[in-house]
């Protein structure tokens, strides 16, 4: 990296940059570099066999499907929550606002065991649901429920500031020009929220893909049915199959990387939309 400093009036650039790069390399870059480096020691054939094994493919399907479903639910209800928090006054608004970050603050293992207990056949929510023939715990639906919990703050926290910053004058102008409230919502507000909305959806999706702690309890971990990809990495590691674990990790890393690019693109789009 070439360091072109315009005018260095302030001291300490060399020192702080040195610390930053050293620490970043030691803690993040070198450890992460072991993944691709390790996979080069595998033959292409072995790599392909591992990542296309039916059990592994079933885990991709579950991870992708449940993450997509959870992100979609969060996009809808998280959107509603963000709108209500930004626009309406009601008693306890500040408490609800603070509570939205609970999934960030509550350790995932705790979320995992409490959701499992709640949705187990005899649990507070599992029992009434069972009467309608809906089983949540130890099914793909349970995985989705855990991922909804984990992803909710991403959608709310991405949308909320954008809704708060909407210029009321634009709405006023549209209304005074004869637009109905529904028209204003669909033609004025929605297009302005779209980039942030998609960003929130993508963030929740990305987080859900890699999630482990909250899912392993409620999923039941049955091969081919309720095994998520991160769990398969752990399973392979426990069998000392380092190569297999690395191969699946590489596939997941590639997926997260693509998502990261999408999110960056969305954010650039969002910024351009906001800027005049």
């Amino acid at each position: 990296m070439s360091l072109q400093v315009r005018r260095r009036v302030l001291p300490g650039f060399g020192l702080t940059m040195g610390i930053t790069l050293l620490y970043l390399s030691l803690i993040v870059l070198i450890p992460l570099a072991t993944l691709p480096a390790r996979s080069f020691t595998m033959s292409w054939q072995a790599f392909r066999d591992t990542v296309t094994d039916p059990r592994v493919v079933a885990s991709y399907r579950l991870s992708l499907g449940a993450s997509l479903a959870a992100a979609a639910v969060n996009a809808v209800f998280g959107g509603v929550v963000a709108w209500v928090l930004a626009r309406y006054a009601f008693p306890g608004r500040r408490v609800v606002d603070a509570l939205i970050d609970l999934p960030f603050a509550l350790p995932t293992a705790v979320a995992g065991i409490v959701l499992t207990t709640l949705y187990a056949p005899g649990g507070w929510l599992g029992k009434p649901l069972a009467q309608y023939g809906v089983t949540v715990a130890f099914t793909p639906l349970g995985v989705t429920v855990a991922l909804i919990f984990i992803g909710l703050p991403f959608v709310v926290r991405t949308l909320q500031p954008v809704i708060e910053d909407l210029d009321p004058e634009v709405e006023e102008a549209a209304t005074s020009l004869g637009a109905s409230r529904t028209g204003v919502l669909l033609r004025v507000i929605l297009p302005n929220l779209l980039p942030a909305w998609l960003t929130g959806f993508a963030l929740a999706f990305a987080r859900a893909l890699g999630e482990y702690g909250s899912v392993v309890f409620i999923s039941g971990n049955m091969p081919m049915r309720t095994e998520i990809s991160p769990l398969l990495i752990v399973t392979k590691l426990e069998q000392y199959d380092y190569a297999g674990a690395t191969a699946i990790a590489i596939v997941m890393l590639a997926l997260s990387f693509c998502l990261l690019l999408c999110i960056n693109g969305l954010q650039t789009w969002a910024r351009r939309r906001v800027a005049p």
Partner: protein, 297 residues
């Protein structure tokens, strides 16, 4: 806050507002409130004595100690890094700056399981440095150093992410003025920069600490689950739960639940301060200086 509330034709009809609010609150209740309440209800399901004995049990206390130790190492190191990165990236322009910012965010994009896996690949028995280190009597994986490393990794970006934007937004004028007036590097940082960024720094510390104490996936991969030795609180919760000792698991989990509540309260309090500081930044520099120097002295 009522400023966001519109009246009459600029908002939805009262009935619609009411319906939407109900849907939102029901969703929050179902997915956030019920689980949080259930943690404490299950923890006390067999009375206070059972609760107490699950927590004062030696393995639980050992897990608590290890969790505190890991956070006590990881958070200060990440604060040091966050401040260095904040200064280098926030106060200076250079090529590759955007790339550096992306690299700092990397641990967020990686599954916790993969975060643990990389340290096993480096320091495990079949790892790059593992055999050499084990021969020299230093075990990382399935031991405390591995847990600390994994904890540092997952809580890595939090402080830097809060400090960099605020350092950038405040700019360099105040520091340049102090420099011209003869302040040394350290004095400059402690007397001018630190008071300006203190709330953002605290905010980052709160988030980093919550993640450090609560991490499960990454730590689980490197720990080896040795009771009383390499178990953190979240791992202890898992072990108890898998042994069908749900009440004890929830008792220990309730400690982490308390941590979450404290985190949320602190976060809400500090958030208003951070926003206050950001708002002041829009004011002319002289005003900012006056406002800040009053609170700094």
């Amino acid at each position: 806050m009522t400023s966001g509330v519109r009246r009459g034709h600029l908002s939805e009809p009262r009935l619609v507002r009411w319906a939407i609010t109900t849907v939102a609150l029901a969703f929050v209740a179902l997915f956030l409130v019920v689980p949080l309440v259930a943690v404490f209800a299950e923890a006390f399901s067999k009375g206070f004595d059972a609760y107490r004995s699950a927590i004062v049990e030696p393995d639980a206390l050992a897990a608590l100690r290890l969790t505190l130790l890991a956070a006590a190492i990881a958070v200060p190191l990440n604060v040091l890094f966050g401040l260095a990165a904040g200064w280098a990236v926030g106060k200076f322009q250079f090529r590759g700056r955007q790339l550096l910012l992306t690299l700092i965010d990397l641990p967020f994009a990686v599954s916790p399981v993969i975060s643990g896996l990389v340290f096993v690949l480096l320091f495990g028995r079949q790892g790059w440095f593992g055999p050499w280190m084990i021969d020299h009597g230093f075990q990382v994986v399935f031991a405390v150093p591995g847990i600390v490393l994994a904890t540092i990794f997952v809580s890595f970006p939090f402080v830097a992410r809060e400090v960099i934007p605020i350092m950038e937004a405040i700019g360099t004028e105040e520091e340049e003025a102090a420099r011209v007036l003869g302040a040394g590097g350290l004095q400059l940082f402690l007397r001018v920069t630190l008071p300006n960024i203190k709330w953002a720094l605290l905010y980052g510390v709160i988030l980093a600490n919550a993640r450090a104490m609560g991490e499960f996936g990454a730590v689980s991969v490197v720990s080896g689950h040795i009771r009383g030795l390499t178990n953190t609180l979240p791992l202890h919760v898992e072990i108890l739960y898998n042994e069908y000792n749900a009440q004890a698991a929830f008792a220990v989990a309730s400690l982490l639940g308390c941590l979450a509540i404290v985190t949320l309260v602190l976060k809400a309090v500090v958030e208003t301060r951070v926003q206050g500081a950001t708002r002041t930044m829009g004011a002319p520099a002289a005003e900012v200086m006056g406002w800040e120097s009053k609170s700094a002295v």
